[in-house]
């Protein structure tokens, strides 16, 4: 049914009902008046009379009896004064009201089609009423009492409305929810007026112990863009206006433009402050890298101290200290993020430098090579970028020199004369993947293997997978190029690349198709200093895993833990997930707790579960290097110092999974507490022999 069906036609049907009701109310009024005549100060009876008049007025206006409503309005006002004791009941007043009652009946009759109303008589009664009560000039006109007044007003306003930005601050009163107002509905109503950007302000939420679940502690800062006006916005809050904090202001055009361009408000305000360092737009300042390093070091120290504070505050059960600790925690996180982001630089500069390199090398080697890049906007920590230059130069030189054939050879192989080197970068969790691929001759696994045997790197009968063979070229002193050239192959091979990548705590993968090219993938951590981690406990030992890769932590019940072909598989949310029990992996011989927890981690090799005794929570961690002695431990990417001073190893989930896959069912192997410490490449070969 549409609103139209509820329109005047519907109202007409109720006019009859009103007539009937009004007559009943008039006889109620008369009997009350007669009672009042006997007992002038009976408040209960006065109230009855007032109610009768009030209802006649209200319903009369409702059903279009505007003349009656206007007339009764004056009587109602008089009786309001009488029942509140502001005016005394007198016999003339009672008689006048009785006469008025008769007049109303005449008006009802006239409306029903019998007889006519004498307007002079109405005016006479009202004039006399005015004299008796001393009220202001009695009006027989009920100007504002006709329906739809607000609609007229609002439509008049919207005609001139233009799209503007409005800033609205809304903090509902604490009892808003108890009084039946749902603030979300108000926000939705605002959304009908235009595009709404909502920011919730949770700052007033008290500590958990003091929260009254029925009170409202939230506030909202809103930015409304639409063709509306202040009245329409205020209208949304009409029922709560007195009980809430509400500021509505139109955003000046200039600022609106800045906001539209995506520049944050804070920044715009910063620009207005004299001497502000960060101005709106593209302006920037140069800071020496040393000072940035210092900043990050200081933030790193702060993170460590904060972890200790958090630990102590947690033990103390002192709400005040805990609150301060939590605030500092938030600030530290923001500070860390901020100082890290200052150090982030896009790879574009590095990529651009290689264009020149490829061009110059091409001329020198008489090869036609084109460099294509992808993801040059990917950002990396400045330190990582600086240290990345050398290995990348090396990889590109290698491709130019060894991989990409001469134009003649390429033509003979049915390829385009122009070779391509493709540089790409993209994010993957806490890492950046940088690929250098070419469409050259690729690696011939057999040649590599023969060369390795010749160099004594592998015994001649070793059974190696293709990936293992390719990784041989990373060994010191390995070079497949038969002749030494100007460009590369002077005895320093890919091992240089591997060392540089190791320093960055990255990893390196080689994939190749003979004849179709070579792809080297560098996997580098986004930053070198501080990361978000999950702290877990296995037996007495603590480990941390990078938070970015973690999908979820759930309890591992015995019925969800399965064995399949000697491998552990768990059912998590109906999905089969292979898992690694860290206590087994590290052969820790700790008693298995009754309830274990499984962390599901997204690695580049798929989803894997890491089963631990307990997940203790998330932390910010300063990465400390393990030092030279542990340089070859692949599965541990560093260590961190916890709040209580103990050391936790930072695991690299990707490498842990890789080591398990490479070593087969490794979690049962006895011996070394850190299986992967047996240096992937060196250990690989004797094992397969």
């Amino acid at each position: 049914m549409t609103d139209r069906d509820n329109g005047p036609g519907m109202i007409d049907k109720y006019k009859e009902a009103f007539q009937e009701e009004a007559r009943e109310l008039l006889s109620e009024l008369e009997s009350a008046l007669l009672e009042l005549d006997r007992k002038h100060d009976d408040v209960e009876v006065l109230s009855r009379a007032f109610r009768a008049l009030h209802t006649i007025k209200g319903s009369g206006a409702m059903f279009g009896f505007d003349d009656i409503a206007a007339f009764v309005h004056n009587l109602e006002n008089a009786f309001d004064l009488l029942r509140t004791g502001k005016l005394a009941v007198t016999a003339p007043l009672i008689n006048l009201t009785l006469a008025a009652s008769d007049q109303i009946k005449t008006m009802l009759d006239a409306a029903a089609g019998s007889g006519v109303v004498d307007p002079l008589r109405s005016q006479e009664i009202l004039t006399e009423l005015h004299q008796l009560t001393g009220m202001g000039e009695a009006r027989n006109v009920l100007g504002s009492l006709s329906p739809h007044p607000s609609r007229k007003a609002s439509s008049a306003n919207t005609v001139h409305a233009q799209a503007h930005d409005w800033r609205i601050h809304f903090r509902p009163g604490p009892d808003t929810l108890l009084n039946g107002t749902n603030p979300i509905l108000l926000l939705r109503e605002l959304q009908d007026l235009g595009t709404l950007k909502i920011r919730v302000d949770c700052s007033a939420i008290p500590p958990l112990g003091e929260i009254d679940a029925e009170k409202c502690y939230l506030a909202w800062d809103l930015l409304l863009t639409g063709e509306t006006n202040a009245e329409s916005i205020r209208d949304v809050f009409v029922f709560v206006e007195g009980d809430c904090e509400l500021f509505i202001e139109q955003v000046p055009e200039v600022e609106a433009e800045i906001q539209a361009r995506g520049v944050s408000r804070a920044r715009a305000e910063g620009a207005n402050r004299p001497g502000a360092l960060v101005a709106a737009g593209a302006s920037s300042i140069r800071v020496s890298a040393d000072r940035l390093d210092q900043l990050v070091n200081l933030v790193g120290e702060l993170v460590t101290v904060q972890a200790r504070l958090g630990e102590i505050a947690g033990r103390r059960e002192d709400a005040d200290i805990l609150q301060i600790s939590e605030s500092i925690d938030r600030l530290t996180a923001a500070l860390r993020e901020n100082s890290m982001s200052i150090r982030m630089l896009p790879l574009r500069g590095t990529f651009d430098r290689f264009r020149r390199l490829v061009h110059d090398l091409g001329r020198e080697l008489h090869k036609k090579v084109e460099l294509t890049t992808e993801g040059a906007d990917t950002e990396l920590d400045k330190t990582v970028i600086d240290q990345l230059n050398e290995p990348l130069v090396h990889l590109i030189r290698n491709s130019m020199d060894h991989a990409i054939e001469s134009p003649e050879a390429r033509r003979a192989a049915g390829k385009s004369e122009v070779g391509t080197i493709h540089l790409s970068a993209r994010h993957s969790g806490a890492h950046v993947l940088i690929r250098v691929s070419d469409d050259g001759r690729g690696l011939d696994a057999e040649k590599v293997r023969a060369r390795a045997v010749e160099r004594g790197l592998v015994p001649s009968g070793a059974r190696l997978s293709e990936a293992e063979i390719f990784s041989l070229i990373l060994e010191p002193g390995f070079s497949t190029a038969r002749e030494v050239t100007e460009v590369s192959g002077r005895g320093v091979g890919m091992d240089v690349v591997r060392r540089s990548v190791d320093v960055l705590r990255g990893t390196l993968d080689i994939a190749s198709q003979p004849g179709a090219g070579l792809t080297v993938t560098l996997r580098l951590p986004l930053t070198l200093a501080i990361i978000d981690v999950l702290l877990v406990r296995v037996g007495d030992a603590h480990f941390v895993l990078p938070l970015v890769n973690s999908l979820e932590c759930v309890e591992l019940t015995p019925k969800d833990a399965l064995e399949a072909n000697g491998k552990h598989v768990a059912i998590v949310r109906g999905e089969l997930i292979p898992y690694i029990r860290l206590s087994e992996y590290f052969q820790m011989n700790t008693p298995r707790p009754e309830r274990e927890q499984i962390m599901v981690v997204e690695t580049e090799l798929g989803r894997y579960g890491f089963v631990v005794d307990r997940v203790l929570g998330d932390h910010q961690t300063v990465i400390k290097n393990l030092g030279r002695l542990y340089r070859n431990v692949q599965v541990v990417s560093g260590a961190t110092i916890l709040g209580n001073g103990t050391v936790a190893l930072i695991l690299d989930p990707h490498r842990v999974v890789q080591s398990v896959l490479q070593n087969g069912v490794s979690h049962r192997r006895a011996g070394n507490p850190y299986p992967q410490q047996q240096q992937q490449t060196q250990e690989l070969i004797p094992k397969g022999a």
Binding site: S47, M62, N77, H148, N179, I184, R188
Partner: protein
Amino acid sequence: MSQVILTVDDSASMRQVVTFTLSAAGYTVIEAVDGKDALAKLSRMTTRVNLVITDLNMPNLDGIGLIRNVRTLPAFKGVPILMLTTESQESRKLEGKAAGATGWIVKPFAPEKLVGVVKKVLG
């Protein structure tokens, strides 16, 4: 399931208008003739009442009294309550707000205005 609205008014014609308008808009409407009747009906209700619309001037228990009583009932904490007022009742409106009313509708109103306000508080 349609939302349930309790309309409280001593004027039968007003009750009819509210009931007809809101039924047509898809709500289930229950009527009460005054505050006392409304409280009795609320206490017997087995389903949730989503909204109460009450007149202010009524015999036995008036609108303000009803609002105060409803707000003390744990089962009706936070239920929206709309007052039917007239323009001459500005002070009563504030009194009602203080007693815990959610909002108001000024009489006389066009049916679509009533539906609009109900939608405003019920979403």
